[in-house]
Symmetry: D2
Subunit: 291 residues, 4 copies
Amino acid sequence: MRVGFIGLGAMGKGMASNLLKAGHEVCVWNRSKEPVEAMVAQGATAAQEPREAFEADVLVSMLADDAVTRAVVLDSGALEAARPGLIHLSMATLSVAFVTEMMERHVQAGVQFISAPVFGRTDVAEAGKLNIVVAGPQAAVDTVQPLLDAMGQTSWPLGEDPLRATIVKISGNFMLASAIETMGEAAALSKSYGVEPADLLNILTNTLFAAPAYKNYGAMIAEQRFEPAAFKLTLGLKDVGLALSAGQAKHVPLPFGSVLRDNLLEAVAQGEGHLDWSALGGRALKRSGQA
Amino acid sequence: MRVGFIGLGAMGKGMASNLLKAGHEVCVWNRSKEPVEAMVAQGATAAQEPREAFEADVLVSMLADDAVTRAVVLDSGALEAARPGLIHLSMATLSVAFVTEMMERHVQAGVQFISAPVFGRTDVAEAGKLNIVVAGPQAAVDTVQPLLDAMGQTSWPLGEDPLRATIVKISGNFMLASAIETMGEAAALSKSYGVEPADLLNILTNTLFAAPAYKNYGAMIAEQRFEPAAFKLTLGLKDVGLALSAGQAKHVPLPFGSVLRDNLLEAVAQGEGHLDWSALGGRALKRSGQA
Amino acid sequence: MRVGFIGLGAMGKGMASNLLKAGHEVCVWNRSKEPVEAMVAQGATAAQEPREAFEADVLVSMLADDAVTRAVVLDSGALEAARPGLIHLSMATLSVAFVTEMMERHVQAGVQFISAPVFGRTDVAEAGKLNIVVAGPQAAVDTVQPLLDAMGQTSWPLGEDPLRATIVKISGNFMLASAIETMGEAAALSKSYGVEPADLLNILTNTLFAAPAYKNYGAMIAEQRFEPAAFKLTLGLKDVGLALSAGQAKHVPLPFGSVLRDNLLEAVAQGEGHLDWSALGGRALKRSGQA
Amino acid sequence: MRVGFIGLGAMGKGMASNLLKAGHEVCVWNRSKEPVEAMVAQGATAAQEPREAFEADVLVSMLADDAVTRAVVLDSGALEAARPGLIHLSMATLSVAFVTEMMERHVQAGVQFISAPVFGRTDVAEAGKLNIVVAGPQAAVDTVQPLLDAMGQTSWPLGEDPLRATIVKISGNFMLASAIETMGEAAALSKSYGVEPADLLNILTNTLFAAPAYKNYGAMIAEQRFEPAAFKLTLGLKDVGLALSAGQAKHVPLPFGSVLRDNLLEAVAQGEGHLDWSALGGRALKRSGQA
């Protein structure tokens, strides 16, 4: 398949690479040029402007956030210039408000829009083992299925409304943030009675909470090791904000979400915005004077 | 071993039964008589008063809470009348304040005290598959190890200070409540965009959150099925209270704990105290007008 | 002075009327025509388009929110077409982000910008007794002082940076919301022990809390009378949102603000968005099953 | 009237002194002896043991908290030894649970019990200007009215059930804590935009919030001056706890109360327990990295 791929950040590089390995023709675009060259070395062609990447069967976008996606896809004129019949496979974590706007703009441009955000950090992306939640027109989803199979270990179909995949991704990241905060508070509580966080979390992440989310973040909290950042705390603040604003639009209060936002803001105010977002799990120790 | 066992509630019955199966001599006491008779039918002897159960090598207690344990162990005079050299294996979920008081009283009575609360609901207790966190004098723990092995699949040693096991148990239950609330909020958010809670939780509990805590409670939340209660919401309120008061004593704020307490209180005020505590995971749907 | 006045809503009408009474020439514009006619009957002239109101010495704007102000002032082209040397006296409650954008646009247009939001409900506006917080270039503020004196009982100068007045207004509305929630929780607590909210609030609003904010809203909470709405709950939700987003931009967590937002969202979800925002003070009674 | 007075702390001294000035015979008891001597110098007689103070027409108690009141009134045997027909005028801030227990014990002892806690700090107590909320048997209240008049500027009758006065006092202190937190958050927000807390609070405490609670605590927050403590932060934590536990008993969630408790705990953990409780209003500045 001829694939345009825009956004070669930490996640995008691994994903595009797996498309090349699966034998697809991939034309890549990225703001900075180094990752483009790395992909060309693997067999990709380089687009000079975003719109060149839209001359394909499928355009995959994996940009940082709403603002960058707006700039590259909408404001650049690339979408309006797209090949009729193009399918846009949008894999970034975007707000429901922006996805809604994107859906309208794609209808106007005659381009089919699929929302397919992913769960997994960079190592998982490289290994082609992402979990992908996907929603969009069924025929379009069928068309891109080989691409999803190349990038992920499982794709989870969620129907025809792209917002459905978006909200599942946002909900999942909210649940991760919540697990981090929970472990942080439990660690502060147990430490105040002399039980090291590592001892507490060793027991719980091998029994009731024996799941990747708890094991991975639990290890970081146990060691209070928040660098290097695989996913920055400021990005976590952005994603919790996506949950809160999605909830606000539908009048759904999220009291845990509010606590998470307050604690993430406090972390940024205290100079921790550049750390991995698991640093949220260190706030309770600090607040209780134990770190 | 000669074992006294007081407290044949939903959990205690399964645990005492497993001690009998493992070949121990068990003398049981319980406030109501039916469960006593059931145990006698399995080979136990019946104590007429609590203090008879204290004439053993090891006394196991599995009573409802601080107040009942105080009445049966302390106020009844049973502890003072205990056989010198007795080991008390306390397996209920008690407050740190009360365990502290118990420790002092046991020193006075010349009885060794082990805190060994358990993770697992009634079916797990029956199957002898509990996870047991245990802390107390090492020699005493060694002595009771065969009992722990008969009741649990794993015992997690936490050192000599009984409070260490108590705080791990309290922290674990706090983490469970937090997982329930998290799923409830995520379910309300996704449902407001047309994704049924079952669809959301199916994806997340098979990937990042593939752990017993999330799978078990996630299924109940997905179906909004909160009866019959395996663990009542009012008991959950009690246990979240144990975390908050343990934290208060050491000046550890637990903002998630505070939200949990408020939401559990609201559930009780709305007539849901008799439901399973997973009903906490239904509040967000109700609050947002979706149930 | 020649004054252009845009925005004749519940507040604007009283304010424009007081300018006329003070002898100023007032040219009014409003989206709907009835309030324009009422002002013309009092001696104003009517602008057919917003830009006509910008042909004055001072333009006063009192529009509903960011979006309406953007449409009428910026997107209409009125600002660009403004008379050189015009002073814009912006009296609505706007976000810090939008005021920042407005400041830049006014510099480009060669128009001086003053932020001067007001405290007081419609009866206070009619009586010319508003409290006005004002910040902008000193000479410009001196020029508009007679207008401020005609509309308010006191104007509170806050220096040259317009954002300073904006943030004081946003902070004040946050404090009002907080007072409402506080009285609501206290009322629910006292009622659960048989003390009617009216009895509790009578004592406290005549002693420690003998202030307009508590007396006015306390009376509404005591009677649980939330209609007709002088200030709709949905507007309160908007204003608490202004505080939270202003805080987020500077990394200032506002935990009370988060609770307020959650409870206001719950009220909207429960069908109370059209009530006066003092209905926030009825949520605690409902949540505790007492109303 | 013959008055026994126990508890000559910062508040009790001023109150007892005003009883003496009004011409009553006052027999005082206090754990430490200095304040006793000071009262004797003013014309009081000294009790060697609490029970001597119970040989009067009216016993006034103004002890620190539940625990001290329990020790001095109940566990000392003084209540059982009280003169038949004695009226106990209990003026401390006590928990609803303990007042309930006190009521039962007084019935058994044949002593009438009035709950009459006070609003006002030490200077107000000295000046005889307290606001006193009072509930108890009507005839008994009539009897003690001259004492209330000597100690307070206004007494607010709340009926015959002593708990009604207790809950109004607890609710009032909750409202004070809430006002402090609110001003602290507003101050942090405005400061992040360059407006000093003193400037913000000057405006608001002279307009919408022109009430003693806001003026007094606002001045302390504006100056970030939290020493010397007129009312220690640890006592504030105790009183917010009284509101939360009173609410819990009746299933009334108090989300602002929960935030207050968490923030007060954080303050204690950060070494601020000895400061005036207005230091709660400094937490938001610290949390946002501005102090």
